[in-house]
Amino acid sequence: MTIAETKISGRQFMYSIICFIQASAILNAFISNITYQESWLVVIFAFIIFIPSVFMYGALINRFKDKNLIQIVIQIFGPILGRIISVIYLIFFLSITMFNITDLTDITKTSMLPTTPYIILVMMCILITAWAVRSGLRVLTIYSKMYVFLASFIIILSIIFLFNVIEIGNLFPIFSLPLKKYVQGIHILNAIPFGELVVFLLIAPNVQMNKKQTYKYFFLGASIGAFSFFLTVLRDISVLGETFGMFVFPSLVAFRLIRITEAITRIEILFIVILIILLIFKISILYYVTVITVSQIFNLKKYKNIVLSVGFFLMTAAIVLSANSIQHTLAAQNGAPFIWVTLQIIFPFILLLISLIFNIKSPKEESK
């Protein structure tokens, strides 16, 4: 049984995955000062390494067709241990939602509203996303296709507009860094953004797709998202060169360099608008997943009643615990990936392994 009644199509699911990765892709500062001009290479390796995880998620979805991640955990580990593990997942979902709210408010403050109080920006973000979450998954994901096309269009347009300042030489040398830097970069990218796709295990029961389509849409979504990420990093490095590792928002600096005669300048607003759209989408998904997890842990029948309460908690937490951009990047580089990867990749793998060994399936699958 799923808490949310609405169903979305497989394609909507795929576009949501793409949007989700694109939102993180634009904020590529996590690895920029670790792997510098070789970050584009790290994106490729990280995605190749992440591909088995995509199929693992697919296998888990197919094995427990009508259950989300929390329900799978409770089914496999029992109500007590299962709920304890679910609380850990809840903390994880709350953390990434908070991190993304911080990202959104940071870029809004940096680029548009420098003197607007943080609390107002967070409040607006929570109000809009709460509205979206209350409207349900279908409403939440209905515009994902449009966002993907819009974001992709702007990425391609920016590459064309920046063509005169692109230096291919900036992408070299390759394999000049110590091995541990590549490992660290790949590890971070496997946690942010690729590993974050674990949240889609909570949405999957509400998606109308067969077994084959599960793999297809998950893989296509992740691949197109990763390709957008790759293009973004490639563009930023080739434009910014050695300064790529310096900036909190490298893409914003790259966009500011667009100058097509005197008429087309200062079009970074395009970047900011699309980033805000994508981040609002991502926060909405994360917020939705957090609400679903709370509902599941406390066995609630309707999730809508707790949307505002969770939102209020998120707002307070984002304000109280918000770090500055350096602390945020350091947390994303050092602490978070180690804990997150456990929940994003290792734990789902354990779940799949146990379900295979003990032949645990959802009741629907068993009856087939």
């Binding site: 940096t110 607007t116 607006m124 809009i128 040398p173 910014l240 600096v253």
Partner: protein
């Protein structure tokens, strides 16, 4: 109804909660178009001048006398750039607005001292833009603000337009804060910035002249290249749309336009150690002015001009390269090329690169195609001009 209420509520929120703090009215802003930084007479202090345009509500009718002098210059002396802006904001009725700043100008003394300490603010500040152009001025930078420019609203807009125009032909004339910082961070590469001189002659409507390039070793200006070396630098760098050179030989004088200059560099190694650099300069030349050369037939003239221009390129490029070798600054990115394509070799060369660069043997191979003689096919010499 409920949805409409929420929508109206959110719209009102965005109207009343957000706009208040970031409201910026044009009549409260001082729109900065240029910043000049000079050394102060006081040790450790700097003179920071900003120039802006006078903003006033638009009026119909003819231009009033007030509109003719639209520049305002503010000046302060502080230890840092941030201090300067703080001080100016405190003592001026409007808030300095940096988003439209076009140029940062450094006096020669500041450039010779330490440019990086002044750039930190421009890189860090959220109000500053990294594409802002940089240039060095011989003498004091604030002299630029005193210039009387007739074509534009103020001298920095004039300079900005000037650099934009000339950089369409030679892109190396345009160095932004981002370019310079990137060059500083790049291994095996030193940077140059265009250098200008203010024309003190009041009768001249060209108030400022570009004199060449300021050469930097890391963050300090160590030399200035003008005329011949400036041309040589442009030829050796390549990726140039158009430049020109007038050559005087025994037989006459010829002015060439050089189009689409492309440069290829090949490094010759011996035991993993670079010993020689072969530079191929591809140029499409056009004859723009030709005096003399009467004794040549059209076929011979073509051969002779070809030889003259080839020899000139070899001389200019070799002389310029040797000059930079004496300075021990690799502004051509030869070290960078090794770093990008052979990072392992570079690891062994990195620490001694300036000396290795200075000892490189250089071979210049010009490949010139004279494509155009203008609209006449014969040698123009109606009165037998000698």
């Amino acid at each position: 109804m409920k949805k409409i209420f929420i929508l109206v509520f959110l719209l009102l929120c965005s109207l009343f909660l957000v706009g208040c703090w970031d409201a910026r009215e044009i009549n409260t802003l001082f729109i900065v178009t240029g910043i000049a930084i000079d050394k102060s007479e006081q040790e450790g202090f700097f003179d920071v001048s900003v120039i802006g345009i006078k903003t006033s509500p638009s009026r119909g009718g003819s231009q009033s006398s007030d509109d003719k002098d639209k520049k305002i210059v503010l000046k302060t002396t502080t230890r840092s750039i941030r201090d300067a802006f703080f001080h100016l904001n405190l003592n001026y009725d409007r808030t300095l607005y940096l988003q439209h700043n076009q140029i940062v100008i450094f006096g020669e003394d500041v450039a010779k001292d330490d440019l990086h300490r002044h750039l930190e603010f421009f890189v860090r500040s959220e109000n500053s833009r990294m594409e802002t152009l940089m240039l060095i001025v011989e003498g004091r930078a604030d002299e630029v603000f005193k210039m009387d420019v007739k074509q534009e609203q103020n001298s920095t807009i004039y300079l900005f337009t000037h650099i934009q125009t000339i950089s369409r032909r030679v892109k190396h004339y345009k160095i932004s804060v981002l370019n310079f910082i990137a060059n500083l961070l790049t291994e095996g590469f030193h940077s140059v910035i265009p250098i200008f001189a203010v024309n003190k002659n009041d009768d001249d409507d060209m108030p400022i002249n570009m004199t060449g390039f300021a050469v930097f070793r890391n963050n300090k200006m160590i030399a200035k290249i003008t005329d011949l070396e400036a041309l040589g630098f442009v030829l050796l760098k390549g990726d140039v749309k158009n430049t020109n050179r007038t050559i005087i030989s025994y037989d006459g004088m010829v002015s060439f336009d050089f189009d689409d200059i492309k440069t290829k560099k090949e490094i010759i190694y011996k035991d993993n150690y670079p010993i020689k650099i072969k530079i191929t300069i591809e140029i499409t030349a056009r004859v723009e002015e030709l005096l003399g050369f009467e004794k040549y037939s059209i076929q011979d003239l073509n051969r002779e001009l070809h030889n003259i221009v080839q020899q000139e390129i070899i001389n200019v490029a070799t002389q310029t390269f040797k000059y930079f070798q004496e300075l021990k600054v690799d502004v051509f990115g030869i070290g960078l090329s090794i770093y990008q394509h052979h990072p392992k070799k570079w690891n062994n060369l990195r620490n001694d690169w300036d000396n290795i660069f200075a000892s490189l043997e250089v071979e210049i191979n010009p490949k010139v195609v004279i494509k155009d003689y203008g609209q006449i096919v014969s040698i123009y010499n109606p009165g037998g001009v000698k």
